[in-house]
């Protein structure tokens, strides 16, 4: 474990240098959150239908998703992209550690550290002034905490898989564009999953993205009752195992076809 924790620690120290970016990120999330809340407010006021999720819950859902924005697996890990493009991936291969877990740690650091740095202030403001609810009970708190932690791991496994794909496409722009659309739509970032059309909800159920944000947030709100948490956590764990296994197998194939030109 120790070498992998050290990689995480090193990434943390590097990320801490970007304090201004963290502050700017928080303000951007706050601004976008306000716009999203106003749009939902307008829609709910203009409609008399019965909604699958209440406005109060949607508002909280928006603030949670704004705070956890950094968890979205929407791009490849930028350092891995540079390493594979320039051939510096050689120095990764020279370390006596498992390549997949070392890259997984990089991806985890990429999502975890900005989220930790940015979410605190945003959640505090949202609690104090912007009607962010508290969970309905202790069971929901526990379930949501476990689900957010699991969501972080699922997100990192998706990012790792995308990044390993760079062995085939090198530039990574295409992968980033594809994944950004899927991640936004199916994790609940565009609309809460319960508000999606039925066909899209079915698609979301077949994809891992909802276990990154939607399920943890609805557990927090009590929209998914705590009694159903074990089932969802088990599904999340299953996705994690599948994604890790896929990442490992793709990585070992990628290494077999590796070409590193030049000195």
């Amino acid at each position: 474990m120790r070498p992998y924790l050290c990689i995480l620690g090193a990434r943390f120290r590097v990320q801490l240098q970007y304090r201004a970016a963290a502050l700017a990120g928080t303000l951007t999330q706050l601004f976008w959150g306000l716009i999203r809340v106003m749009i939902f407010d307008g829609f709910y006021r203009s409609s008399t239908a019965v909604h699958p999720i209440s406005l109060a819950q949607v508002v909280s859902y928006v603030w949670l998703s704004q705070a956890a924005f950094g968890m979205l697996p929407d791009r490849v890990e930028p350092e891995l992209r540079d390493m594979i493009r320039t051939g510096n991936v050689t120095s990764e291969l020279l370390r006596p550690i498992d390549l997949y877990w070392s890259w997984f740690c990089r991806c985890l650091a990429m999502t975890l550290i900005p989220t930790l740095m940015r979410s605190g202030p945003l959640l505090a403001v949202a609690f104090a002034f912007l009607e962010l609810q508290t969970p309905p009970g202790a069971a929901s708190v526990l379930a949501a905490a476990a689900a957010f932690a699991g969501g972080m791991l699922v997100s990192s496994a998706i990012t790792a898989l995308l990044s390993i794909g760079l062995f085939w496409t090198v530039s990574g722009d295409g992968l980033t564009r594809l994944s950004v659309a899927a991640a936004y739509l199916f994790s609940g970032m565009v609309l809460p999953i319960p508000l999606l059309p039925e066909a899209l909800q079915k698609a979301a159920a077949l994809l891992p993205y909802r276990y990154v944000l939607d399920v943890p947030m609805r557990l927090y709100l009590g929209h998914i009752p705590a009694s159903e948490a074990p089932m969802h956590l088990a599904a999340q764990l299953a996705w994690l195992l599948v994604l890790v296994a896929a990442g490992r197998s793709v990585l070992s194939r990628g290494l077999g076809r590796l070409v590193v030109q030049g000195g």
């Binding site: 051939g87 590193v260 000195g263």
Partner: protein
């Protein structure tokens, strides 16, 4: 003693996508890609014993770095046998790289944004080095390479020579038994070059580390290596001591004479006159046909001489000749 590196008939081919020039070529490439196969390593074999310091030289694109990358587990060869410290590097990568040290002169393995000391400490954790052993080893390397004042500087702010010394230390923290140095003196100034060279020599002579050194700097080879492997177009042309290389690449020596009388005519049937510039005459001769001492004796008997000296051709010329011969008629190696 058993060989610590054993390579037999190693083969590695790269596929390179080619595109005809111009816009039409680019469009045609959308429909039909042309590929060219390049044999970077074409059936090489050699062994390395413990404590050997081998120079591995060859022109650009000869396959030097590819060989090193296969030996260090980065690339997978198409075929052939290869054992490093009793292991197959691309199959047992983690076990192999834990016991070797690799420096690529054109890349750094240090963390760009972190101070050197933190990079070293990360390596300590990654290689799982005991704290006591780490302290002893890092103190020793810091003293040998003169790194005291560099430890708190982020790597991106180091000069190339400083960075190379830090990279060398980083590759040795885990006390590897075998070291691959890929152009460690590339781009360094004279002082840094000498420091790096001296360090490699001490490492080999005092610590008994085995080293494979790739380089374009033949002074490195003359200063350090007892054995030289010359590779061109993926094949080994020559494997043996430096003196063999000299013998093989042409045995002519040059004799430079300063005459007393600048206008005197020179007559010397045993040697060929290469140039004449006033009193200075440059002769070239084959020491297997006429002994150096005899030639000098006869020359001095015929002409009044103020000064003279004999030289071996510089090693650059030997190697350039070998490379050209290889291009002209590729040797029939297995």
């Amino acid at each position: 003693m058993a060989a610590i590196v054993r390579v037999e008939n190693l083969l590695k081919t790269f596929r390179i996508a080619e595109r005809r020039p111009g816009l039409w070529g680019a469009v045609a490439g959308l429909v039909h890609r042309r590929h060219r196969e390049v044999r970077a390593v074409d059936g090489i074999s050699f062994e390395l014993g413990p404590g050997e310091l081998v120079g591995y030289i060859g022109p650009n694109g000869a396959g030097k770095s590819t060989t090193v990358k296969i030996l260090s587990g980065i690339l997978v060869p198409d075929s052939g046998l290869c054992e490093v410290l009793g292991r197959v590097p691309w199959k047992q990568r983690v076990e192999t790289v834990a016991r070797i040290g690799v420096v690529f002169g054109q890349r750094t393995q240090l963390w760009w944004d972190l101070p050197v000391r933190e990079s070293f400490e990360l390596l300590r954790d990654i290689y799982r080095i005991e704290p006591g052993a780490y302290r002893a080893k890092s103190d020793e390397l810091i003293a040998m390479l003169g790194l005291e004042r560099l430890l708190d500087v982020p790597v991106r702010q180091l000069s190339l020579g400083q960075r190379m010394r830090c990279d060398l230390a980083a590759a040795l923290l885990h006390s590897p038994e075998l070291l691959f140095l890929d152009e460690p003196t590339i781009g360094l100034d004279a002082v840094s070059k000498l420091a790096v060279r001296d360090f490699i020599r001490r490492l080999n002579r005092e610590r008994g580390a085995s080293v494979i050194l790739t380089t374009h700097d033949l002074d490195d080879i003359e200063a350090l290596c007892t054995r030289v492997l010359v590779i061109a177009d993926g094949r080994i042309l020559c494997d043996g001591p430096l003196s063999d290389l000299r013998a093989r690449a042409g045995s002519r020596r040059s004799l430079t004479v300063d005459l007393v009388d600048p206008a005197a005519s020179v007559d010397c049937p045993e040697a060929e006159i290469v140039s004449r510039d006033g009193q200075r005459v440059q002769l070239s001769f084959d020491p297997t046909r006429v002994k150096t001492a005899d030639l000098i004796g006869r020359f001095v008997a015929r002409h009044p001489v103020r000064d003279l000296f004999v030289e071996n051709p510089p090693i650059e010329e030997l190697v350039a000749e070998l490379y050209q011969d290889a291009r002209r008629d590729p040797p029939d190696l297995p």
